[in-house]
Amino acid sequence: MPVIHLPAELRSLADGQARVELPGERIRDLLAALYERFPDLEKPISNRMAVAIDGTIVNHPLNERLSERSEVHVLTRIAGG
């Protein structure tokens, strides 16, 4: 099952968990499952966060495919000068 890693600042919205295993063939399924379990995560993640799927950063995740062993990290979106 894919694993989603939450940054420290969001863990209190997920019962303190740093990693959550959830089913999903696409990132949207995984996130939907995450939000179902922890509804408070949806707003901060969709507003401010990007994900890194097996090392590839996706700022606006949608249909990206996952494998059974995918590691997804949630991180803050970045701008620049």
């Binding site: 890693h5 940054p7 420290a8 600042e9 969001l10 209190s12 919205l13 408070d40 901060p44 507003n47 401010r48 966060m49 890194a52 097996d54 090392g55 590839t56 950063i57 996706v58 700022n59 606006h60 590691e71 990290h73 949630v74 991180l75 803050t76 979106r77 970045i78 701008a79 620049g80 000068g81």
Partner: protein, 754 residues
């Protein structure tokens, strides 16, 4: 991924398409457009750093002959507080309006309070003088200590500390707008494993991007509601969005044409003038030009944060880092939104670390709201960590490059801020500097060298591109990103590469918001990466059309046609190749004009790592530091146009040297900026600097068709610490507060000798 050796045009040093106009003085920058009937606008600015506005009297100004419009903050909409996603940034729409023109309170000296439009600059200036603002002064909050003090004066009575999750528990009004921790492992465990622990505090002052062209725009509100805006900006679509917001108009009513841009470095991602000029134009029915003076630029546009960073590192005697803890406090200026978040995330990105706690605080003070400045937040954070690691190397007797090599991330490492690194060239850059003469040569008396590394994420985001083929086989490439440092040359090279024609046959054009699809800003080191990706895809789209036309010409299935070296080739070889110009010349018979287009939301920008070494000589009798050698190495992925890549490295280094040695905002006790000009805001001049050697390390980024990484921001991250480390080596004095100006260094040298 293309084989790097297979590039025909990419990697060459072509002449930039806009070059002739720029060396002959014909290129039009922000202040260069004049329209018939145009009025001159002028902004009235606060003479107080913190005060309630009791009353603004505009009657005298309005009655001055030649004055056609006067506006104040009350003329802008009273928007609900909400965060507007701006690409990767977020902006509080209410703060944006309040910063555009003060309402209720002024929050920094120079804060706009009113604006006029008149038939001449003289009359506009007289009218501005006639606007009387009555203030109720409030105590000023000019630094972190004042902002954080118990019973501190509050800039925003309704502001509470937010986190990523929302307000903190039991929120109370405060000047601390935002708190963000970054945690990994357990720092107590990490420090318990350490054999050496160092802890120090590092500070930086407010500094400005210092672009040479002041902000400027012309707005022309037409009868019927449409508005044309011409301006110097890093983001024409951003100007459109924010002007529409401020005027409560649909974006489709506004056309923004970016002029040539005379520098930005992030500072022209902020919008100040355009909504004001547009409103003045709407009120007067005439085009209105607004141009800032240098003084206005320094007083009222975004500099970057003054900062204080407490950092503690633990290490084994062999140099292996066991833990890092840091607390970063960043001044945001008058409104929340300092770059403390990227500072927290970048600070330790270059190192393998199991135990980390980095906490960031975003704190408001009575200074102009900070704007992005080249790798926002990262230089200040790097100054702290790269200085203390130099101190650690000294403590342990380890070569500073070896210390970093021992702990540096490489392909497969997990970055402390989340993702796993793909192919990166950090260790290659460290090795390259180690053998460079600036690092390797012996040092003379009062001389020293200092090393530091730097990291910036780089970004992708949205870009559109169009490639249009002309009947003679040449091409025009259109994007929506203002060319701030030679990007047209890179766009031309990438299109040339795909089409198989020389770059000289490709004209690269920056479109306006109506001639090209949406493009995010020129910023985040994204243009060559993301817009370049769009150009490559648009050119490939055009090539697909060219192959179709060849197939039609030959009457063969398109699958039998390939494209190479600017020619359509019949794979089976039954037909002689058709060159691009032959196909375009014959286009009328095969379906008409040929073009390609692409729209991308580029993900997964390649991170940028740089390593720099400064060599300085200190005059111990005056505290003067002379830079006598400098080398900057950086993993650039693939240098599309090496000269402009080198130029990014050199320019970032120069800004970093200025930041280290002399640049700072100097305020008096009332919050008035004392050095609002280039005389005493001391940016480096030509005679201050040596040649800046560059080493382009090319580890292709796997997520870009050519391996491109953004390069523009990373170069300003290492210099602060590289310089401070070199000065420490040369003078024997460790300077932990910037700038290391001659009086400060002299004082420290004297204190140490005493």
């Amino acid at each position: 991924m293309n084989d790097p050796k297979a590039f025909r045009f990419v990697g060459s040093r072509s002449i930039r398409p806009d070059g002739v106009e720029k060396v002959t003085g014909r290129a039009q920058y922000g202040a260069d457009l004049s329209l018939p009937g145009m009025l001159t606008g002028k902004i009235v600015r606060s003479t107080r750093a913190h005060a309630r506005i009791r009353h603004i009297d505009v009657t005298q100004a309005m009655s001055l002959p030649g004055v056609l419009a006067v506006i104040t903050g009350d003329d802008f909409p009273d928007l609900e507080r909400r965060m507007l996603p701006m690409g990767e940034q977020q902006m509080d729409v209410r703060d944006f309006i309040d910063n555009t023109m003060a309402r209720g309170k002024v929050l920094y000296h120079g804060h706009a309070v009113a604006a006029v439009a008149a038939v001449s600059p003289d009359i506009a200036a007289q009218a501005a003088e006639l606007i009387k603002v009555e203030y109720e002064p409030l105590p000023v909050v000019m630094d972190l200590d004042a902002a954080l003090a118990p019973q501190a004066t509050l800039l925003h009575e309704d502001q509470v500390t937010l986190t990523m999750q929302g307000p903190v528990e039991n929120p109370v009004p405060t000047n601390v707008a935002f708190y963000m921790p970054l945690k990994k492992g357990d720092i107590d465990t990490g420090f318990a494993a350490a054999e050496v622990v160092l802890e120090n505090t590092y500070t930086t002052k407010t500094v400005h991007q210092g672009y040479i062209e002041p902000h400027a725009c012309v707005a022309d509100a037409k009868q019927g509601g449409r508005i044309d805006i011409w301006c110097s900006t890093q983001g024409p679509f951003l100007v459109r969005t924010l002007t529409a917001l401020a005027l409560e108009k649909p974006v489709s009513d506004i056309k923004v044409t970016p002029s040539e841009i005379g520098g930005g470095f992030g500072g022209k991602l902020a919008v100040y003038l355009e909504p004001v000029a547009a409103l003045l134009s709407m009120r007067s029915g005439r085009p209105v030009k607004l141009v800032m003076s240098r003084e206005e630029v320094l007083r009222a546009t975004g500099p970057t944060s003054a900062t204080r960073t407490r950092v503690k590192v633990g290490a084994k005697k062999d140099g292996t880092l066991t833990a890092v803890q840091a607390k970063l406090e960043f001044e945001a200026g008058a409104f929340k939104g300092s770059p403390v978040v990227p500072a927290v995330m970048t600070m330790l990105a270059a190192y393998e670390l199991d135990h980390v706690l980095v906490e960031g605080y975003d704190i408001v003070v009575n200074k102009p709201k900070v704007a992005a400045y080249r790798a926002p937040g990262a230089p200040q954070a790097a100054f702290a960590i790269e200085s203390i690691l130099d101190e650690l190397a000294g403590e342990l007797g380890i070569d500073p490059i070896d210390l970093r090599l021992k702990n540096a991330v490489s392909e497969g490492s997990m970055a402390v801020y989340g993702p796993q690194f793909k192919a990166i060239g950090l260790k290659e850059a460290l090795q390259a500097v180690k053998t460079h003469p600036v690092y390797a040569d012996p040092v003379g008396p009062n001389q020293g060298r200092g090393v530091a590394l730097g990291f910036w994420f780089n970004v992708g985001m949205q870009s559109s591109a169009a490639v249009r083929l002309n009947e003679n086989g040449s091409a025009t490439v259109i994007t929506g990103n203002p060319d701030i440092g030679g990007s047209r040359a890179s766009m031309a090279l990438m299109a040339a590469e795909e089409l198989g024609i020389p770059a000289e046959q490709v004209q690269a054009v920056v479109g306006n918001t109506e001639t090209i699809g949406y493009c995010d800003v020129t910023g985040g080191s994204r243009t060559t990466f993301a817009t370049g990706m769009a150009v490559i895809e648009a050119a490939r789209d055009a090539v697909a059309r060219l192959c179709e036309r060849a197939a039609l010409t030959w009457d063969v299935p398109v699958e039998q046609v390939s494209w190479a070296h600017g020619q359509a080739i019949h794979i089976a070889g039954d037909h002689a190749p058709l060159s691009l110009d032959e196909i375009t010349a014959n286009a009328i018979h095969t379906g008409g004009p040929i073009a390609g287009a692409a729209q991308v939301n580029a993900q997964d920008a390649g991170p940028g790592f740089g390593v720099q070494c400064a060599r300085v000589q200190v005059d111990p009798e005056t505290g003067y530091t002379r830079v006598i050698g400098y080398v900057a190495a950086q993993d650039v992925g693939k240098a599309i146009h090496p000269s402009y890549v080198e130029g990014q490295l050199q320019g970032g280094v120069a800004q970093g040297i200025g930041w280290t040695l002399n640049e700072e905002y100097i305020y008096d006790a009332d919050g008035v900026l004392l050095n609002a000009g280039f005389l005493d805001y001391r940016v480096p001049v030509a005679s201050d600097l040596p040649m800046i050697d560059t080493i382009l390390v090319e580890v292709p980024h796997p997520s870009h068709p050519y391996g491109v990484r953004g390069v523009g921001e990373t170069p300003i991250v290492p210099p602060l610490a590289a310089m401070a480390n070199a000065i420490a080596a040369a003078s024997g004095v460790r300077m932990r507060d910037l700038p290391i100006s001659p009086p400060r260094l002299y004082q420290a040298i004297t204190a140490q000798g005493a």
